[in-house]
Symmetry: C2
Subunit: 239 residues, 2 copies
C-alpha cells in the first residue's frame, strides 16, 4: 500500500512534503484536505491528525503529522532517498535539526504573520492591525538577515555543500508564501537579501520540475490576489 | 575537553539540557549566560550563538544551538546515553520529532506568552494586555488538553512506554514555567489535567534528584514573585 500524504497545496509545509516525495520518486497517494472548505476539521481527518493541520501521512498503520518530522521519517524509512537530504553525519544532521527548530519561531512566525495579515486586510476587508503587521515584518526581516549572514555563509545551501537538505525545501516553501504579497511588498522585503534570493533559485532548480508544478496553485492565487488588490486600490483612488 | 553547555537556569530549554546531561552522567561544564544582565548579547556569546539565545553547546570545535537539536545531538554523540531517551526505532523516533515540533507553536507559545505577560504586569508594573494574555491562555489550555487526551493516551510518557524520552524533559521543563504564576492561577490552569499533572510527577521522579536541583532557581524566583504579588495586591486593596 502506497504512502498516503494528506495535504493542501495552499499550505507551505504540505508543499514541502509533496515536492520532497516527488523529487525522490516516492510511491505515494496525494489526498486533498481542502482548508478553504474546513476539511481539516472533519471527523475523518481528525482520526488522521487530531491537531487539524496539514500535512499528515499514513504509512501502513502509522500516522504522523508535523512536516519536519514527516520529512525526516521519509528520509529514514524509504531506502531510495539520497543521503544529502538528511545526512547520517552527526554534525550535518545536528545542523539540519537546528535550522528546522529555529524556523518555527522565526522565519515561519514572521512570514505567516505578515502574509495572513496583509492578505486579510487587502482581500477580505478585515480590519488591518498595523502593530501586528509591523511586528511580523520585523521578525521576518530579522530572519531573512540571519539566513543571509549566518545560515547561508558556508555555501549555496543551509548546511553548506552543493546539494540541498530537507531544511532547504522546508524553508524555501515558507518564503514562497511571500509571493502572495503585492509585487512591490515582495520585492521590498526580499531583494536586499541577495544570497537568499539566489538560494531560492538554487533550491527551485535542484527540485525542478516538481517545485513549480506543486506551486502552481500558489501562482494562480497570486494572480487573483494581485488583481483584486489593484481593483481595491483603484476604487479607493476614485473615492 | 568536556562538553560546554552555555545556559541560564531561568530559561526552560536551558534547564532541559542541563537536567538531561546530569541524568546521563555526561562530563560537561556549565557556563552561565546571565539573561538578566543581557549577557546573551555580548560579543563573546555572539560567537557561540549568533541568535543570542540560551542554551548552546560547544563540543570540541562544533557549536550548536536550539535545545531540541542539542538533546538529539547528545543522545547520538555520547555513547553512554540510554536508548529510551531517543530510541533508534523509526516510529518511536518519528513520534519524538512530531511532539517536539508541535511543542514550538503550541505549548511553548501558550506557556511563554502567559507567563511573560502576567509576570510583567504583576511585577514590573508594565501595562497588562488582557487580549494577549487571553490568547496565550487559550493556546496553553488547548495544548494541555492535547497532552491530556492525545499525547499521553498511550502511557505514562509522551511516546508511550514506561521510560521518558527527550520530549518529556523538554515539555515538562516548559510547563514548570507556570510555577511562576500565583498559586491560584497555577492550580486553575493545571489541575483539570490529571494525566498531565501525573506525567510531570513521573518525569520529576525519573530525573531525580537533578530535576529539583536544576529548578532550584525557579522555586526561589517563585517565592520572590508570589511575595511581591501579595504585597502589590495588599497595596491595591488599601488604596
Amino acid at each position: 500500500m502506497a504512502l498516503k500524504v494528506y495535504a493542501d497545496r495552499m499550505s507551505q509545509p504540505s508543499r514541502a512534503v509533496l515536492i520532497f516525495c516527488k523529487v525522490n520518486g516516492i510511491d505515494f497517494e496525494e489526498i486533498l484536505v481542502d482548508i478553504s472548505k474546513n476539511q481539516q476539521f472533519s471527523p475523518e481527518y481528525k482520526a488522521i491528525n487530531p491537531m487539524h493541520q496539514v500535512p499528515a501521512i499514513v504509512d501502513g498503520r502509522f500516522k504522523l503529522f508535523e512536516s519536519h518530522a514527516i520529512l525526516i521519517y521519509i528520509c529514514c524509512a524509504f531506502p531510495g532517498v539520497a543521503s544529502h537530504w538528511y545526512p547520517s553525519d552527526l554534525i550535518k544532521r545536528a545542523k539540519i535539526h537546528s535550522v528546522l527548530d529555529w524556523h518555527h519561531l522565526n522565519l515561519r512566525r514572521g512570514s505567516a504573520g505578515i502574509v495572513a495579515n496583509i492578505l486579510m486586510a487587502n482581500i477580505d476587508g478585515h480590519r488591518s492591525y498595523p502593530q501586528v503587521v509591523n511586528q511580523a515584518e520585523g521578525i521576518l526581516l530579522k530572519s531573512l538577515s540571519k539566513l543571509e549572514n549566518f545560515w547561508l555563509k558556508d555555501g549555496r545551501f543551509l548546511v553548506g555543500g552543493s546539494q540541498p537538505s530537507i531544511a532547504d525545501i522546508s524553508l524555501v516553501c515558507e518564503i514562497m508564501e511571500l509571493e502572495l504579497l503585492s509585487e512591490k511588498d515582495h520585492d521590498r522585503i526580499l531583494s536586499p537579501f541577495k544570497k537568499v534570493v539566489q538560494w531560492i533559485e538554487d533550491t527551485k532548480i535542484a527540485t525542478s520540475p516538481h517545485f513549480d508544478e506543486v506551486h502552481g496553485i500558489l501562482f494562480k492565487a497570486q494572480k487573483r490576489f494581485r488583481e483584486r488588490m489593484k481593483t481595491q486600490s483603484n476604487l479607493k483612488a476614485k473615492l
